[in-house]
């Protein structure tokens, strides 16, 4: 007897109208011969009709006007903040450049004078580690920046997670989604999340896998 199992998916697709030839004819022929599948096909047609018949309330009358106004206001507000931040950043950069130049000159002179008198002791290497919050922030900014090119989705694996919070499954699903993206898609993909959500994901990652922060940022 012909197996009905292989027609299950096709029957659903036939009922909703997306099954293409030659599968369409093949499935129709099977339905004609098989009462059980014919029943499923008819039930699926009825079900789709029922689901479609359930309607939803329209948005309130002034929804579009409010939407345009509110979105415009939010965008303008953020534009202004960005512009201010950018001005501040430029000033800060200029100040930092001046300070750095001054420091280099000062220390060079000091070093030359000092080393001419005695041999310099071996300098202790500064601690280059950064704390976790900084890692997450820097990593997040890196993801959102146009310069983010080389980090791969592999860095976002979550296999070492040992926590027992109820968020585990949710995070795992997000990570699986992330891992399914290739690195070129990652930036666009992560931008479809809200900032809070992206931070949640990255913070959870950072807790367990601080090493996943790209080396260039640490």
């Amino acid at each position: 007897m012909e197996s009905c199992k292989k027609y299950e998916l096709n029957i659903t697709l036939l009922a909703e109208g997306s099954l293409e030839e030659p599968l369409r004819s093949e499935t129709l022929e099977h339905i004609e011969r098989c009462e059980s599948c014919k029943g499923k096909y008819e039930q699926t047609l009825t079900l789709l009709g029922l689901v479609k018949s359930s309607s939803l309330p329209e948005p309130s009358g002034d929804f579009l006007d409010r939407l345009i106004k509110n979105v415009g206001r939010e965008i303008s507000k953020k534009d202004n903040v960005t512009r201010l931040a950018s001005v501040r950043q430029r000033k800060l950069k200029a100040f930092a450049a001046m300070a750095a130049t001054f420091a280099v000159v000062f220390f060079s002179v000091f070093y030359i004078q000092y080393s001419s008198r005695q041999q310099a002791p071996v300098a202790e290497l500064p601690d280059k580690s950064i704390n976790y919050e900084e890692s997450v922030d820097i990593y997040f900014e890196a993801l959102l920046s146009d310069n983010f090119v080389e980090n791969s989705a592999d860095d976002l694996s979550f296999d070492s997670y040992t926590g027992d919070t109820e968020d585990y499954i949710w995070i795992e699903e997000k990570l699986s989604d992330l891992e399914s993206q290739n690195s070129n898609d990652l930036l666009e993909y992560i931008n479809t999340f809200s900032e809070d959500e992206a931070r949640d994901i990255l913070e959870e990652l950072g807790t367990e896998k601080q090493t996943s922060v790209p080396n260039s940022f640490s």
Binding site: L9, P57, G72
Partner: protein, 180 residues
């Protein structure tokens, strides 16, 4: 001769008129999509607004590999998932939806059909997230399976399978309830 800038170029340049055109074009679809996910009209309006705000903030990183509509749907559904997760919203039949919906004319037949339809809708809410999204996007938004796959981050084939399992579960539930 210079070509006229495309909609995407205008959006990336911060053209507010272009933003407004996008809102006018897609606000109803996004509203109904979010309403089907979160059930409360007020929340759906807020999520619709947030969808456009997020989209316009991040338009610079949108490369246009998928359509603008698909991208907006992705943003809206991510917001819905965050909303449902954070608020721990219990998805129940909203009385307002039952009472305010505009239904077909004929009295008894349409009442029965409406009740059955509402039962189907209640069962739809119990499906897994991906199955529910596949059914909603296909049945109510006429999306191609390729687009559905892009939105729920899976292949076209997996989108079809999610749709099938969702519909099959609904069919079995309706049968158990003696509707079919």
């Amino acid at each position: 001769m210079d070509e006229a800038p495309t909609l995407l170029e205008k959006l990336k340049a911060g053209d507010h008129e272009a933003f407004n055109d996008v809102i006018k074009e897609y606000h109803r679809e996004i509203y109904f999509l979010t309403l089907r996910m979160v059930k409360k009209a007020e929340d759906a309006e807020d999520l619709t607004q947030q969808t456009f705000i997020n989209a316009f903030e991040k338009i610079g990183s949108f490369r246009g590999d998928s359509s603008l509509k698909t991208w907006l749907y992705q943003i809206a559904l991510n917001l819905c998932r965050t909303h449902l997760r954070k608020k721990r919203v219990v998805v129940e039949l909203n009385e307002n939806i039952l009472n305010e919906g505009s239904y077909n004319d004929s009295p008894l037949g349409s009442i029965l059909k409406t009740e059955q339809g509402e039962l189907a809708k209640a069962e739809l809410d119990k499906l897994s997230e991906k199955q529910k999204m596949a059914v909603i996007l296909r049945v109510f938004h006429d999306m191609e399976y390729k687009q559905i796959g892009d939105i729920i981050h899976c292949s076209e084939k997996t989108a079809k399978v999610n749709f099938h399992y969702g519909i099959d579960k609904l069919r079995k539930k309706m049968k158990e309830n003696g509707i079919m």
